[in-house]
């Protein structure tokens, strides 16, 4: 059985394409956990996924009034985990006390907990990672009445793994504000983007929504530099469903807490003819950085 922890780590998206398959299965790790403990084990993921999925979408406030333009790009987004993300407090039960155990990004060692009557239960180790990296291909096309459409899509069947299919879909648009406010000394646009990311047959199901206002200004002629800033808002929902490994009839569904937070970014785009290189740092559910490379008009 081919499994991919990388897919888990990147669950964020198709960074799966950047890493080789590996043997460790999210559903196996979760199978031994009750719903509340699975929630704790996965607790670093919603913030990391929210931050990365909602990053690097819009790199400019410049949206022409009309004309044909497109850009095909690849964006990589990463965030770092704090020390508080590495452990969670397990749920006490009548038979077992609460203990501190590794989250999915925590240390690799399992934690044994002694319970009533000398029962011994174990919590799985984590993947010992300090950062989360995701990537996404993106197509933007426009413009009509100062509006461009933006799409993200990736789908892959992960070998023979239990994960099955990994799918990222995103759709949104950016609309020029400058066309109404011609006196402001920068290009300004408002954008909104909705994404879904699914892993396996319901194992991981996420929905992200991002809205922002981006302001940018062009400098240079042949080699163009375009600094930009954006102020936005993110929401993120994540559901997890798996089967108990000790009782195959026990289907467990976990709804992670909704993430809602401001999203601030500052970055720059360097353009030479049809080639564009962008970089930004952002502060969202987690802070991080994003890089993008695109080709287009």
């Amino acid at each position: 059985m081919l499994r991919s922890a990388v897919v888990l780590v990147l669950a964020g998206c198709l960074a799966a394409s950047l890493a080789p398959p590996a043997r460790a299965d999210l559903s196996e790790k979760l199978g031994v956990l009750g719903g509340d403990d699975a929630k704790g084990y996965l607790s670093p993921l919603p913030k990391a996924l929210s931050s990365t999925l909602n990053a690097g979408i819009f790199q400019t406030g410049r949206v022409p009034e009309t004309g044909f333009g497109f850009a095909l790009s690849l964006h990589a987004m990463g965030v770092t985990f704090g020390s508080g993300d590495r452990t969670f407090q397990t749920t006490a039960t009548p038979q077992f006390p609460s203990v501190s155990a590794p989250t999915v990004v925590g240390s690799t060692g399992s934690v044994a907990v002694k319970g009533q009557g000398n029962l011994v239960s174990n919590f799985p180790g984590g993947l010992d990672i300090s950062q989360f990296v995701a990537a996404a291909p993106q197509l933007s096309i426009g413009t009509v009445m100062g509006t461009r459409a933006v799409l993200r899509y990736f789908s892959d069947d992960i070998g023979n793994s239990d994960f099955g299919k990994l799918e990222l879909f995103g759709i949104g648009a950016q609309h020029s504000i400058s066309r109404y406010l011609r006196s402001i000394p920068a290009d300004v646009a408002i954008g909104a983007f909705y994404q879904t990311f699914k892993l396996g047959d319901g194992l991981l199901d996420t929905k992200a929504f991002h809205v922002d206002v981006t302001a940018s200004r062009d400098f240079g002629r042949v080699l163009k530099l375009q600094p930009y800033v954006s102020v936005g808002y993110d929401t993120f929902n994540m559901d997890v469903a798996y089967t108990s490994s000790s009782d195959p009839t026990d289907k467990i569904s976990v709804k992670m807490d909704t993430q809602s937070n401001a999203h601030l970014a500052v970055g720059a785009q360097l353009s030479l003819a049809a080639l564009h290189l962008s970089g930004e740092v952002f502060s969202a559910a987690n802070s991080g950085a994003a890089l993008g490379l695109s080709v287009g008009l």
Partner: protein, 210 residues
């Protein structure tokens, strides 16, 4: 133009500076990790309680755990190589009425489950449980006696090296379920299920992007 370039370079420098901050990710690399995976497995033992007297007992029933649960298969399914197996422990015991007694009001009192490994003496695993037996129940988690839990944990610990050496563990687990059934003037006829949940820990090699 010069001013514009200065502003541009200043902007780029600002981005670079902030990007170099401690909270920003560094260049991701693929790294190998050896991760402890914890897997749960369960084995369910049936016990039909029948008879015309108000005291029932299963008698001593001997089972081979390796014949009730295919641990090597379960371990392999989790992606754990048997050579990387670290522990097998008893993580839970529960019971339920799986077939209800047709007599309304059937209850069990002074219930007891005793276990023994190989030729060791019988010790309590569950003592003095009670409950209705006239309807099917969900899994009930009883208070456990550490003597019985220790016996089963010792059995599992002794089976671990045998599984790693691809041998069939010869250990036998004997159990005895007994109790008092009421009403006393109608024959008892229901079935208990006893579930033992095992926690298996082994190390798996994985690669992560970090």
């Amino acid at each position: 133009m010069r001013t514009s370039r200065l502003i541009a370079y200043a902007g780029l420098a600002l981005v670079t500076l902030v990007a170099a901050g401690s909270s920003c990710p560094t260049e991701p690399k693929i790294k190998t990790r050896f991760v402890d995976l914890a897997v749960g497995q369960s084995v369910t033992l049936d016990f039909p309680a029948t008879g015309s007297t108000n005291t029932f007992t299963s008698g001593n029933v001997a089972v081979r755990l390796d014949q009730s649960i295919n641990l090597p298969q379960a371990i392999a399914a989790a992606g754990i190589d048997v050579s990387s197996l670290k522990s097998i422990t008893l993580a839970g015991v529960s019971y339920r009425v799986s077939v209800a007694d047709p007599t309304s009001g059937r209850t069990v009192t002074s219930g007891s489950v005793q276990v023994a490994v190989n030729s060791n003496p019988m010790v309590d695993l569950i003592d003095n449980f009670s409950g209705a037996a006239d309807k099917v129940t969900g899994w009930i988690t009883p208070s456990l006696d550490s003597l019985g839990v220790d016996q089963i944990n010792a059995l599992l610990a002794s089976e671990l090296p045998q599984i790693q050496n691809d041998q069939n563990p010869p250990e036998t687990l004997t159990y005895n379920v007994s109790g008092v059934s009421t009403p006393t003037d109608v024959a008892t006829s229901f079935t208990y299920e006893l579930r033992l949940t095992l926690s298996i820990v082994g190390t798996v090699k994985t690669k992560v992007l970090s």
